[in-house]
């Protein structure tokens, strides 16, 4: 064919794909021994295929070449590879999906390796699988990705340690960032901490927080536009093409955004529910958050709410956690926090003592080194136990009785102050709602709509953080306890809204160090989303896929079932 004719043919192919199928059967890997290959070839002949070839080692260079030759010289544009599983040799049998279609018929793992060789039924199976493959490819067309210019910018919602870190990571990789923080100051909870949990190997010592450096780095970075005292009021569009409206100081601004990182953090479990543990009842019973704030405000001195010095501080773990009436889950951080605060106590005064009452001490991973160091601290006493009673003690302190200790008997002791180690609630749960009264899938309200088919009940999410303009509602679904659903096993950084990535404590209880690491991961995913989308490729769950749902609207009855049922809320 002349160059001119080839170009003309290529131009024609773009408009209409005229299929020319080539069938390539590998006889290696015992396939040739187990099956009547000629009979398989006949199936192709019956379908009038002109290019049917076999090779004893199809994935070798020579074998792969016979397919390439047919593509280049015979005009084959639909390749059926009857050989091994589609999950292997994907690099060998790879043909430009924009020009060609490929079908992998699994004669190896699913036929020859799992059935009796030479048997009549095995042969019939192989023939049917080949027929299936040929039927499939007859209905396939090359891919035609939608490629639009996208905005290479990342929106980070939340200016705590996770938000700041993901902003720095994204900017460092060369992407513009808009950082939205609802408070007037950046830094989140880390700002209120006196010291931070171990963040460097060997993880056996607490130290000062590095949040100050992070804040300065973000404020000094030209790529990051910081908006404090701000909130996202509307998110429209799709990955690569979002338009986000941010309100601040009574004004509004709409920015073009490529992908979104949701790092809106946590809040403490409401200790108002813990009166049975003395909170609100006795004045010197505080939460771990209050303890941290007090110690930070008093520059390391351990003072009670009334200002007097506390020398004996008791800590009660799992306060309102691992309890079906409160937070059913473990927040994984409170044991470490109590160890940290116990260290504050012993650092404040040579005579000061800390008593930690626990069900279990949970110090995951290398934080175990810090637990060991704390056990070596003579001022820190740790005991397993369950609360029998908490009463007002002498001098405004508390008198605590515990049972099921390792001594096998009840123990009573007094302390100047009791710290309740309360857990973390995700900020995906709006203020005023608890995780015990959530509506299924979305956090919102039941809505009844009258339709010709009867009354339909569905949950509409309450607008909160994202304010999405999507058919499935303004917020994303949760799986458990208000944490965003993500397919935690295979795609933990994803959420059920493509292009939006949850990072830090909003998605699971974790320490500041873990949040920073999580934020790095989310930044990576946000960038990956931008780049893949710019190439017309899917992000998740089929990474790199250039196909997308195409709807033949001529026959659409607008029943909307697809928009309601899509787990990712893609259709509108």
């Amino acid at each position: 064919m002349s160059e001119e004719a080839k170009n003309e043919a290529a131009a024609e192919e773009k408009e209409e794909f005229t299929q020319k199928i080539g069938l390539y059967i590998c006889t290696g890997c015992e396939i040739g021994d187990a099956l009547d290959i000629d009979a398989l070839k006949k199936i192709g002949e019956i379908k009038k295929l002109e290019n049917i070839k076999t090779h004893e080692f199809l994935c070798s260079q020579d074998g792969a070449q016979i397919i390439k030759d047919d593509i280049n010289n015979e005009g084959v544009n639909s390749i059926v590879v009857a050989a091994c599983s589609m999950r292997v040799n994907t690099d060998v049998f790879s043909y430009d999906p924009l020009k060609y279609v490929t079908e992998r018929v699994n004669l190896r793992e699913q036929v020859v390796w799992t059935h009796e060789p030479g048997d009549e039924d095995t042969q019939m199976l192989a023939e049917d699988q080949l027929r299936i493959g040929l039927a499939r490819i007859a209905k396939a067309e090359p891919m035609d990705p939608e490629i639009e210019p996208i905005t290479r910018s990342v929106l980070v919602i939340g200016g705590g340690v996770a938000g700041l870190t993901s902003a720095l990571e994204s900017a460092g990789a060369g992407y513009d960032v808009v950082l939205v923080e609802k408070e007037a100051e950046l830094g989140g909870w880390s700002r209120k901490m006196h010291k931070m949990l171990p963040a460097k190997p060997p993880f056996d010592n607490i130290g000062p927080s590095d949040i100050g450096e992070k804040i300065s780095a973000v404020e000094g970075n030209d790529r990051i536009k910081v908006m404090t005292g701000a909130a996202v009021t509307k998110t429209e569009g799709a990955p690569g093409l979002y338009k986000v409206t941010i309100s601040r100081n009574g004004g509004e601004e709409t920015v073009d955004i490529g992908s979104i990182i949701m790092a809106t953090g946590w809040r403490p479990y409401d200790a108002g529910n813990l009166e049975h543990l003395g909170y609100g009842k006795f004045k010197n019973v505080v939460t771990n958050v209050e303890m941290e704030e007090m110690v930070a405000a008093n520059d390391g001195k351990i003072l009670r709410p009334d200002g007097s010095v506390a020398k004996k501080v008791a800590f009660l773990q799992c306060a309102g956690s691992r309890d079906p009436e409160h937070l059913p889950y473990c927040s994984s951080v409170c044991c470490l926090t109590s160890l940290k605060q116990a260290t504050y106590v012993t650092e404040s005064d040579a005579d000061a003592e800390a008593y930690i009452i626990y069900k279990d001490m949970r110090t995951p991973g290398l934080y175990e080194n810090y637990y060991e160091a704390a056990q070596d601290n003579p001022g820190v006493m740790l005991t397993k136990g369950e609360i029998v009673s908490i009463e007002e003690g002498a001098d405004g302190g508390v008198s605590i009785e515990i049972d099921h200790t390792m001594l096998g008997e009840k123990v009573r002791f007094d302390a100047d102050m009791l710290v309740l180690a309360t857990g973390m609630v995700t900020n995906m749960v709006p203020e005023g709602r608890t995780i015990n009264d959530l509506t299924p899938d979305y956090i919102g309200q039941w809505k009844e709509t009258e339709t010709p088919d009867g009354i339909i009940k569905e949950v509409i999410a309450d607008p909160h953080i994202l304010n999405l303009e999507y058919r499935q509602g303004p917020e994303m679904p949760y799986l458990s306890y208000g944490f965003p659903d993500s397919h935690f096993v295979c795609f933990p950084y994803e959420t059920r809204r493509t292009g939006i990535y949850a990072a830090g404590t909003v998605r699971a209880p974790m320490t500041a160090m873990q949040s920073a690491s999580d934020a790095g991961g989310a930044a990576l995913k946000a960038i990956q989303c931008l780049e893949l989308t710019s190439e017309g490729k899917a992000v998740h769950p089929r990474v790199g896929d250039m196909t997308y749902p195409e709807i033949n609207f001529t026959n659409c009855t607008q029943c909307r079932r697809c928009t309601v049922e899509c787990p990712f809320g893609t259709l509108d």
Binding site: T114, L134, R136, E141, E550, P567
Partner: protein
Amino acid sequence: MGACPQKIISFKDYSVPMVAEAMKAVNVPEEEDKPRIICLICENDAYPSLDIAGLNRMQLNPFFRFINLRCLGGTNLVWIADSLSAGVEGIMLIGCKYGDDYQCHFIKGSEMCNERLGKVQETLSRLMLEAERVKQVQLAVNEWDQLPQILDDFAEELKGFGPNPFKGF
């Protein structure tokens, strides 16, 4: 694909008519001792499980015909009626687990498939066929060694119903 009752949602390389044609391509012999069972398998857990069974040379019942889906959520109910009226003895759907500790890579796909199959009972009784001829199985990729038993048990159950009256039409 599974949601749309009009069957108008498709992809360039994956559509309702494509799978329908694939099912029709299966040869259904007249002999009673040569049953045919369509087995829809999802590409995320079911297909790899079959591969691993193959790697371990586990022997499988030869009467199943495997058709890949991206996810069981793409199952359109029209396929069930079509293949049963073509004489196929039964349809097995193997996909990822759903529920609290779900595995389904498309989050809700296999769960939705299960719900939709509940609606196919009416179709089956109209065809005078047993509801149990359609069966969905949740398989985690590490449960590949259960495949021979799963397939054999279903084949045995179908045998108990007697041949599909549409076989040989």
